[in-house]
Each structure stands twice: as structure tokens, then as C-alpha cells.
């Protein structure tokens, strides 16, 4: 038994076809926009990396500047050093040192390597600056 094929009439097929083609064009344009956006983002990323380098240089320059100025808290530090009770450094013989190192190598657990991230470094730098500021205030 042959299956009956049915058809639907499309009113104004030319307009439909035209619309479809035009919309296809727009979709291709959208794809072009995607590539343009990717290239823009790449350029932006390059610039952001440049900016990062520039900021790093600025940080270095500021630390240089900081080092060029005399240390304000020097007197305080000297005072504190003088106030501290002297602690005798244990000066053991080389033999005992060797022993100690041997025992430490046998008993010490293997240290896990902690890799400091860029963010950690920046936090540490910030903390140092905060400490200096607090010392001056």
C-alpha cells in the first residue's frame, strides 16, 4: 500500500525564502562578531598583561623610594634591641652539630613544598606596608 504524501501550501514563498536568506546572512554576521570579540579580548589581555608589568615596576620603584628614605623607626628598633635580654646562642661542637643534623634528618617528616602564589605575595607586601604605616602613625 503506497503511503499518501501530503503537502502544505506556502503563501508567498519568495518572501519566506528571502527572509531565510537574510537571516542566514545575519547569523553569519553574528559569527563574524564572535571572531571580532575574540580578537578584541586577546588585545585586551595583552594590554592587561602590559599593565601588570607596569604596576610591578611601580611597586619596585616604590620599594626603592622607601629604601632611599631613612628608617624612621630605627631608634625604636635600637631601643627595643637594647631592652631585649641577651640570649646565648648555643654554640655546640661540630660533632654535636653533625649528630643533631643526623637525628633531624632521620626524624623530621618530609616538608611539603608550599608554593607561594602571586596573590599571597601581594598580601604579604600589603601587610608589610600596613605594618610600616601603623608604626609611623
Amino acid at each position: 500500500m503506497a503511503t499518501e504524501e501530503l503537502f502544505v501550501k506556502i503563501d508567498d514563498p519568495l518572501t519566506v525564502r528571502l527572509s531565510l536568506l537574510e537571516e542566514s546572512k545575519k547569523i553569519v554576521h553574528a559569527l563574524q562578531t564572535y571572531h571580532k570579540l575574540i580578537s578584541l579580548r586577546e588585545k585586551k589581555l595583552d594590554l592587561i598583561l602590559d599593565l601588570k608589568d607596569q604596576i610591578k615596576e611601580l611597586v619596585l620603584l616604590f620599594s626603592k623610594l622607601d629604601a632611599s628614605f631613612p628608617d624612621h623607626s630605627l631608634r625604636e628598633v635600637v631601643k627595643q634591641e637594647l631592652m631585649k635580654p641577651k640570649v646565648n646562642k648555643p654554640q655546640q661542637s661540630t660533632k654535636s652539630n653533625k649528630k643533631a643534623s643526623k637525628t633531624s634528618t632521620t626524624t623530621a617528616k618530609p616538608k611539603e613544598k608550599y608554593v607561594e602564589s602571586e596573590m599571597d605575595k601581594l598580601n604579604r607586601t600589603l601587610q608589610q606596608i600596613e605594618d610600616k604605616l601603623n608604626a609611623i602613625r
Binding site: L20, K26, T33, L47, D50, L58, H72
Partner: protein, 75 residues
């Protein structure tokens, strides 16, 4: 409070400080220019995304029209 005693800087250090400050100023200017470029690119990106959205809205509208024509014939 910080000690208000005067602080003196060696003349050689002073010159060095002035030089560093000049370099810092130049570097800040360079960074400002870079940020301006980044901002320009960001605006361009935003504009492209807006155009993209508009484009897709138009496509959606037209496809809805075609859908209507195809599935809701007049006769």
C-alpha cells in the same frame, strides 16, 4: 604617634629620590594610557555585544514570522 624629629636625607640619596619620582611619574602616565586603551577596547567589546544581541533579536523576530507563515496558513 610618630616622632616629629626632623629627618635629613643625604644629597646623593635626595637626587636619586628625585630621579625615581620622575620615573614613577612616567610609569604612572604609561599605565594611565594602557588603562585608557583597555577601556576603549572594553567599550568596543560592549558595543559588539549590544549589536550581537540586537542582531539575534531581529533574527528571532523574523523566524517567528516565518514560523507563523508556515504553520498557521491563512487558508
Amino acid at each position: 604617634m610618630a616622632n616629629q624629629a626632623p629627618v635629613f636625607v643625604k644629597i646623593s640619596d635626595y637626587k636619586q629620590i628625585l630621579d625615581i619620582i620622575d620615573v614613577v611619574k612616567a610609569k604612572i602616565e604609561e599605565s594611565r594610557r594602557t588603562i585608557a586603551k583597555i577601556n576603549e577596547l572594553k567599550n568596543e567589546e560592549d558595543q559588539e555585544i549590544r549589536a550581537w544581541t540586537q542582531n539575534l533579536d531581529e533574527v528571532n523576530k523574523r523566524i517567528t514570522g516565518i514560523d507563523k507563515t508556515l504553520f498557521e496558513p491563512d487558508n
